[in-house]
């Protein structure tokens, strides 16, 4: 009997130790969000693991809205949104805990260089048969109405929101559901033209080139110095109760090493 009580005490002690150590063992932070950063998040995962010991599980294809809802439902620890939180999302307790920015512009599969006037872009989008300077037809790819890139593109150029609404009535234009679909289509179509974030093009190593606007190329430097004013803000979304893993990720983003990695991917932190 003393032996039995001894063994039971040892077993219970082992179980207690395991319970106490379990959070540190196999900790994972599920994340996802706008397609522009999906590849970037995957590329950050090793550094994050190395820094915090936490696995970063990037769920692809969620998009901004899906990722935000997943965070609200506790299915993700943190998300990257391509837009500000909506009121109903905020009412669920979500909050923007960090901001990332990246140049945003028009990409094409052409070898370039090509340049567009800012004031001509909306008209070009509304033209029935727009062509490049060499006469090649411009084949535009649209995004879903509520998709963040569509909203960003409408806001960047004058008259662009109305142009996109009218353009959506054309049945011959392709609508890409995700950022990856958008890039895939743009790569495959000759004379393509669609909106995209610089960080996606770089991180996914896409065979696409940005069209300079008013003679200014879409680069992180031009974006930072203001000569290329067209960009997209990305927001790190966390639930009302932030998990330690999420807090670790937020802290990870603020670290200089991380910022360097982000810059290499065409992205900077801060508003």
């Amino acid at each position: 009997l003393p032996l039995y009580h001894g063994l039971r005490a040892i077993a219970l002690g082992a179980i207690g130790v395991m319970v106490l150590l379990s959070p540190a063992l196999g900790r994972t932070l599920k994340t996802g969000g706008t397609g522009s950063v999906t590849e970037l998040l995957k590329q950050l995962a090793p550094a994050f693991k190395a820094d915090t010991g936490i696995d970063l599980d990037v769920i692809p294809g969620l998009g901004t809205s899906g990722a935000n809802n997943a965070v609200a439902d506790g299915q993700l620890g943190i998300a990257v949104s391509g837009r500000h939180l909506k009121d109903k999302e905020a009412k669920k307790g979500l909050k923007e805990v960090a901001t990332l920015r990246t140049p945003f512009g028009l990409v094409t599969s052409r070898q370039g260089p090509d340049d567009l006037k800012r004031s001509d872009i909306a008209e070009l989008y509304q033209s029935n048969r727009p062509t490049w300077s060499d006469g090649t037809p411009i084949l535009i790819t649209l995004r879903p109405v509520d998709e963040s890139d569509n909203i960003v593109l409408g806001e960047l150029f004058p008259g662009m929101t109305e142009a996109l609404v009218r353009l959506r009535k054309r049945p011959d234009l392709s609508i890409a559901a995700t950022d990856q679909d958008n890039a895939d289509i743009a790569e495959k179509v000759k004379g393509s033209l669609t909106g995209a974030a610089l960080t996606q093009i770089i991180s996914e190593k896409r065979n696409l080139r940005f069209v300079s606007i008013d003679g200014v190329a879409a680069s992180l430097e031009n974006y930072q110095n203001g000569s290329y004013p067209y960009g997209k803000s990305l927001y790190v979304i966390a639930p009302s109760v932030v998990s330690p893993e999420a807090e670790a990720f937020i802290a990870f983003l603020a670290k200089p090493a991380t910022e360097a990695l982000l810059r290499q991917a065409g992205m900077i932190t801060g508003k």
Binding site: K30, L62, G63, G66, N69, A177
Partner: protein, 678 residues
Amino acid sequence: VIGFRNKLSNVVGWLGLAIGLTVAATVPAGYLLVAYSQVDHQLSLLADMKASRLAKYIYLHQKLWQYQTLRLAELTEIPEAREVGGQQRIFDSTGKLVLETGEAPAFPIARRSSPIVVAGLQVATVETAATFRPILLATAIAAALSSLLGLAVVFIIRILPQRIIDRTLAKLEAIQTRLTATIEAVPVEFMEYDRQGRLILINSAARVSQGWDGNSIGKTQRELLERTLSRRRVEEPDHDWDGWMAKRLSTLERSGMFELTRPTGESGRFYVTDTPDGGKVVVRVDISELKQREASLAAEMERLTSIFRSSGAGILLLDRDTRVVMANQFILDIQGKSSADVIGHRYSELAITGLDSTVIERWQAASNTAPLTAVEFDYSLGSSRDARRIIKVTATPVQDGTGALRYIVLIGVDDTERRMGEIKLFDSARLANLGEMATGMAHEINQPLATIRMASETLIEELDLETSGMAAELTTFFREKLIRIATQTDRASGLVRDLRAVARRPANESRPFDVVEVARVCDGLLHEQLRVARVALSLDLPPASVLAQGESSRLQQVLINLVLNARDALTSDPDRPSTGMLGHIAVRVAVAPEGGTVLTVEDDGPGIPPAVFPRLFEPFFTTKPTGKGTGLGLSISHGIVKHMGGEIDAQNRSGGGARFRIILPALTQLSPQAGLAA
């Protein structure tokens, strides 16, 4: 008619309203039904397609698929389906809304959902929704338009047909008036009853015949009959009015034609027909006169039929194919067959031959109205000469209106008597000529006989005066010879005188004569002739005259005929002796007890065969060899005696031989003014 028109107008009005409402309701209802079905079908189909697409995606991307809204939204959009204004929602297995795309459709909303099944488990449900408002709006417009159409239909059906109905009713009224007038005018009785058996139409002929006044309309046949019979039962109580009424009432219980006779004898023929509305039309035709005519006709037919059947003439009716249609008893007797064995058989199968087939063929080929000529032919009935009858047949073709042959009528008449009359006439003429010749010859013979007589008498006188120079024996010899010459001359003169008397033409004048003298004359004429034939003739005569009324020459003819017949019987007897007298004939005249005269001729020959008796006095009947007798002697004798009011009969004598007896009426029964002729 006005009531019918109003009813018809109401019916048409309600019918128009019903059709109008139907038109007004059918179009929008139909559209709504079809459109709803289409939307329902489209939504269900889209839900199924989206569920299928989503299921494949979720199967491949199960990790947090509920939050992959971009892809889910893309998969819920099917541009090929040309969705317009629809809303899609995805619910997970707990019912939580996962995705909602598109704007919420306006009320009313049609929703259809389809389960999303992955690996056999339902992981979610996709719902498609669309507003039903455009369909309702279109339905409302269709309802408005169809209401206008319905109103137009009501107007058209109520107004236009009304005019047509009015015109048609006017025509119907005219027709009804004309028909009523026609029914009123027809001479037959016309009555119509409705399905309850009430009288609704009656013409004047029926009112008069039935004794129903104008108040009869609307009453049943029983009521009308009761009203009529209540009077007639009193007026004519002997008749069975109740029985007749029961029969009369039954007329409305059936259809067809039947006849009914009133207790008073009037007959009516009823034609009862069902009307389409369950009533009866009764037409009664008074056939009382017809019945009387039928009865008369039947009697006439019976009379004609009896004449036809029993006619002395044979009547045979053939159709154009010469098949027997009718044959009367005369023909059947000739055929020796029954009617059933003759009717329907061809003429060629009958015994009555003589109508030539070429004549028949010529008649059958006739095709115009030119009358065909009848033909006559003789048909001999009976094989033996004695029993032969001669039928004179007249075949008459009967043509129809086109001239084609329809019937052949053969009428056969027994012509035997006429033929006999012709022969008798010929014999009479021949005898008359012979008589005249005999009279002339008697006159011529008398002259030399008188001369011979006078010469012989003169020689006798001279011989008596001159006897000196002649021997007495010679004188006696001459004297006897001269006397014999005178005697024979007298006898010859008597024969000539008797022959003149016999051969004298009948004067057709009846007068009393002496039967005894007739017998003597006969003896004088035939005695020598019979003697030569080895037949003895004896007379048994009363001492006084026996008178009879008539023509003596005719009775003489009868007596000579009977004596010669007796001679022929004696001489033709196969058992006659080769020598000596063959037989004896006795002629007897006697007064009958009743006062008449009996003249008897008897012989002792073979007598009359029994089979001959029934036909003894028939013309042309003879037992003599052919060429020896005409068969007319006894027949003529029978006629002469009958003409004199007498009787002649024959019988065989008990001791052998035949006896003919003539009984003539007593002279006192005849005209007292008649003088003595012979």
